[in-house]
Symmetry: C2
Subunit: 102 residues, 2 copies
């Protein structure tokens, strides 16, 4: 599968992982739209938000927890956004959440 | 508690509910920033994204499911965003997710 984010997950394309665990990786957006702009990316190739199923509940819970921790670690509590893009707004067809903050 | 969204949930402030169930309500943003701009709002007064806890897993799963259904119902598959604002970006201190689409 020729998926850029799968390649990043596997280390075939380099990225600076800010966080990683068994289920997800976090790395900076290469075209940042805020002082902090991180992509929270499941290792599993889930194509889009619409492909999240009931069995992703554990993953979702972890994603929320990791983003909450990143907001605290990066001291973004006073101004942050979490964004999921879909359709034409989604540039890479591998689910990822944007954490933006100043 | 003087919370605008709690009042909307209780029907004390009128809003056109696009969807409602035991756990959440969905109504249009009064200042829409896209053709479709809906606020997915838990009935429980959770202040912000940072206040989501492990025991909100069921609620989270439902929120995702409801947004997925709204994307389909409103035919937004080709262009949508899901956004959670925090800090100064969050205008009402009662957790809500924005679904924006064209």
């Amino acid at each position: 599968m020729d998926c850029t984010f799968c390649k990043i997950v596997k280390g075939e394309i380099p990225a600076n992982f800010v966080y990683q665990d068994a289920d997800l990786v976090v790395f900076p957006d290469i075209r940042p739209k805020a002082k902090v702009h991180l992509l929270i990316t499941p290792k599993e190739h889930i194509e889009s938000f619409l492909d999240l199923k009931e069995n992703h509940t554990k993953l979702l819970t972890k994603i929320i927890k990791v983003i909450q921790q990143l907001v605290k670690d990066k001291k973004l509590e006073s101004s942050y956004r979490v964004v999921v893009n879909g359709g034409v707004y989604q540039e890479v067809p591998h689910l990822h959440l944007h954490l933006l903050g100043d």
